[in-house]
């Protein structure tokens, strides 16, 4: 427990430090919310009065203090450019990305673990070798290629799924669902290949270990050997990858969302960056940061549950 508490504290400190660095970094970039709103032909006097109105002329330390106290009280800030509270912009987009990520995760992770186990257990089969090679290809292809191929095959040649998402910005989950599949498949291909190969390597490694051999020599049934001995020992490294891939599903979907015009957090981030909406960029960065820190904490804790050797005497 002390160990866990230490890790949480460390993560929190990392978060705070990186949040401050991000704030200062974005602040140092040319342009701010007012130049973003008023654009190329914004006159100096209008930009100046906009800055006055939004307290952008305060010293950076003062703004950092205001921003962080707001953040702690749950106020993500206000987008001058979009004339809206940041939380109201982000939350619907986050929901859309979460639905897509959940679909991708449910498709990819269980099947990756099963396929990885089979490939690790029966490496000599021809089909194992083919699947293994395919997964290498899937891992090395850029997402936009996978996305475009899926679009061409499943939307143009076989018109099963809508090619790009076309929906109102306040779409319900039900309206969202038909648009989720192609982007979710794209993401699923990437994370399937990744986690499947980790599982396969882990199984290959585990099954040569003495405790597996001893179980087999004792005459334990194949099925029991797999479920009691191999899988629990092979899972911890996979959990790490699953946690990181899960974090990526929530934060690394820029390309896939752009290709499919999917109204999620990734597309919002691209929009925010391209029209310099700094107030909106910062919370998205912090969200990504939080997701990664939490997921790596989670991966560690899960590994401890699965692997008794990692539990220290102190607990």
């Amino acid at each position: 427990m002390i160990n866990l508490a230490r890790r949480v504290t460390f993560s929190l400190a990392t978060f705070i430090a990186l949040a401050v660095v991000s704030f200062l970094g974005i602040d140092a970039l040319p342009g701010d919310g007012c130049t973003a709103l008023l654009g190329r032909f914004g006159s100096d006097t209008k930009i100046e009065s906009c800055r006055q109105e939004n307290q952008l002329n305060d010293p950076v330390v003062v703004r950092l203090k205001n921003w962080s106290t707001d953040l702690i009280s749950g106020d993500l800030g206000y987008s001058i450019k979009r004339d809206e509270q940041v939380s109201e912009i982000i939350i619907p987009r986050l929901r859309n990305t979460a639905v897509m990520a959940a679909v991708a995760a449910v498709i990819a992770f269980p099947s990756a673990i099963v396929v990885g186990l089979l490939l690790g257990r029966f490496p000599q089969k021809r089909s194992s070798k083919v699947v293994n090679q395919l997964s290498v290809i899937a891992m090395t292809l850029p997402e936009f290629v996978i996305a475009t191929v899926l679009w061409l095959v499943l939307s143009i040649w076989l018109p099963i799924f809508p090619g790009v998402s076309v929906m109102p910005s306040n779409a319900s989950v039900l309206q969202l669902l038909p648009n989720v599949w192609l982007p979710a498949f794209t993401l699923a291909v990437v994370i399937f290949a990744h986690s499947m190969r980790t599982m396969r390597a882990s199984v290959t490694n585990v099954q040569t270990m003495p405790f597996v051999e001893s179980a087999q020599l004792r005459g334990t049934k194949e099925r029991t050997t797999i479920s009691r001995h191999i899988v629990p020992a092979a899972l911890p490294p996979v959990m790490n990858v699953v946690a990181l891939d899960g974090a990526w599903l929530l934060t690394g979907t820029f390309v896939t969302e752009a290709v499919f015009n999917f109204q999620g957090l990734g597309r919002l981030a691209i929009d925010a960056i391209s029209d310099r909406d700094t107030a909106l960029i910062l919370p998205i960065i912090l969200f990504g940061l939080a997701v990664y820190l939490i997921s790596s904490l989670l991966a560690d804790s899960l590994a401890r549950i699965f692997d008794p050797r990692l539990r220290s005497a102190k607990g």
Binding site: G31, R82, W151, P162, P178, S227, D275
Partner: protein, 505 residues
């Protein structure tokens, strides 16, 4: 383990099946693209900050032009035609204009359109406090007065023969009295379509205005669908999810080669790029150096390299575009020897080193400088390309560094010349002061006779080619792509397209 595997497989299969069914349902929905519905793809231009207020900098185009009308529109040949105005006339000095309005026109909420609305709208456009972008066009108007219910008198700061063309700007739209507070999200216009759902980040829905004064629209409904980037918009057209894209990336046009399914239109436009040289910074104060920099390049090669073959129309440093009635078609071939001679005369016998700033803040800007650099090296002009960050380009580089790329949208001759080239213009990017040019501009806009005026505008453009500090090699040609089911979209700039005449078969 086998049991758990089976369970997982079952979940997986159920999931896939569900996916296929819901995808199938969705595809049923999309192939039933009803006739009478036009789905227009639109760029996410202002990332959710869009407003329907036509005078606001974040106005959402082309939706505003479906909901509102101008007083005066433009015809295919860019001559003015009546929209909400019925007729117009001016005094001899061209600084007082009387506009008679169409009677019996109603706004979408049933109220009458009359002179009060015109006065209100024009006052908002020219309000220095609100500082609308349209003020750059119509700032020449000093007062708008109601003469009677259907007659308005506009007084100008100076004579302007082409006021009707300026009033045909796509943002010079007529809005009802006291609508400022509500118009951004709940627009009430007189136009061919009424706003049903305004959703600039998703799908905006408009319904036909059956009482439209030019006749009932052929479409029942228009859906304006927003795309994050042009590639996903092109995919949507290929997959029959939209019917019309107003501008596609030239490289995407290969996707729409099937003439049975798609129609492509190449439309010369007035959008241009340029390289600007600050005359208040050396060596660009010297007119000989400026001319050498402008004649040393082959413009056709630059246009072909930057925009693709057929992607642009060459310009000899005139901002007046090819379809404008005042366009001067000069001859400006690459003249390496001439450029060398001019440089030597100015004291640069061994050639000259210059820096040009660019940025990927807009498409074509980096390619333009790269192509230019290649073109002018024969004449001993050695260009160093400086890349500036996109986010600070317009604030810190444009109009400030000694040489930089530039980009402007389409404007009528009188507007672009006065907005960009006049010595006193706020956005004169080169700082060039040419009192003679200013005088020529005053005279041209105050000349009532059309032919005499055209001659004066031609002389102005010739002068620019001799003396200007702006290297302007081309106007861009836009590619418009649509499903072949769409009828009635004429191959002309969108300002002249009549939305009520479009149909989907």
């Amino acid at each position: 383990m086998i049991r758990t595997m089976n369970k997982l497989q079952k979940i997986f299969v159920t999931f896939l099946a569900f996916g296929l069914i819901s995808g199938g349902l969705a595809s049923c929905g999309r192939t039933s693209s009803a006739s009478g519905v036009l789905r227009v793809g639109n760029d996410a231009g202002f990332g959710g900050a869009e407003t329907m207020d036509p005078y606001d900098g974040n106005r959402t185009w082309p939706t505003i032009n479906m909901v509102f009308d101008r007083l005066i529109g433009v015809d295919k040949d860019f001559s003015p035609i009546a929209e909400l105005a019925q007729s117009w006339s001016s005094n001899e000095d061209l600084n007082e204009w009387t506009i008679k309005l169409r009677e019996g026109v109603k706004f979408h909420d049933g109220s009458d359109f009359d002179a009060d609305d015109v006065v209100y709208s024009i006052n908002r456009m020219i309000d220095p406090e609100f500082d609308s972008p349209i003020r750059a066009v119509l700032g020449v108007i000093t007062t708008a007065l109601k003469v009677s219910d259907f007659e308005v008198k506009l007084t100008l700061a100076t004579g302007e023969a082409d006021l009707p063309l300026l009033l045909a700007d796509y943002r010079a739209l007529m809005t009802p009295v006291d609508s400022q507070a509500t118009i951004g999200k709940n627009p009430i216009g007189t136009g061919p379509f009424k706003m049903e759902i305004f959703d600039p980040a998703g799908t905006t829905v408009l319904l036909a205005n059956e009482n439209y004064f030019f006749g009932q629209p052929k479409l029942e409904r228009i859906e304006v669908i927003t795309f994050a980037d042009s590639q996903s918009a092109a995919q949507a057209l290929a997959g029959d999810q939209v019917d019309l894209l107003l501008a596609i990336d030239g490289k995407s046009s290969a996707m729409f080669g099937d003439e049975a399914k798609f129609t492509l239109q190449n439309i010369p436009s007035g959008d241009w790029n340029a390289i600007d040289f600050r005359v208040d910074q050396e060596p660009f104060g010297d007119a000989r150096v400026r001319k050498a920099l402008r004649i040393a390049a082959d413009r056709q090669v630059i246009a072909d390299t930057v925009l693709g073959v057929g992607g642009g129309v060459v310009a000899c440093d005139t901002p007046v575009w090819s379809a404008d009635p005042y366009r001067w078609n000069g001859d400006c071939p690459k003249d390496t020897e001439g450029a060398k001679a001019l440089l030597a005369e100015a004291g640069y016998k061994d050639g000259i080193d210059i820096e040009i700033f660019t940025s990927d803040v807009e498409v074509h800007m980096v390619e333009l400088v790269t192509a230019y650099k290649e073109q002018v090296k024969d004449a001993g002009i050695r260009v160093t390309i400086k890349m500036a960050d996109a986010s600070g380009f317009w604030d810190d580089v444009w109009m400030k560094e000694s040489a930089f790329v530039d980009s402007w949208g389409q404007r009528p001759a009188t507007q672009v010349l006065n907005e960009v080239y006049r010595s006193t213009a706020t956005w004169n990017p080169t700082g060039q002061v040419d009192k003679d040019l200013d005088k020529m501009l005053d005279e041209a806009r105050a000349t009532k006779d059309q032919a005499a005026r055209a001659k004066k505008y031609a002389q102005i453009q010739e002068r620019l080619f001799e003396n200007s500090a702006i290297f302007l090699p081309y106007h861009k040609t836009l590619t418009r792509a649509m499903s072949s089911k769409v009828k009635g979209v004429e191959p002309i700039v969108i300002d002249a397209v009549r939305w009520e005449k479009i149909s989907v078969s």
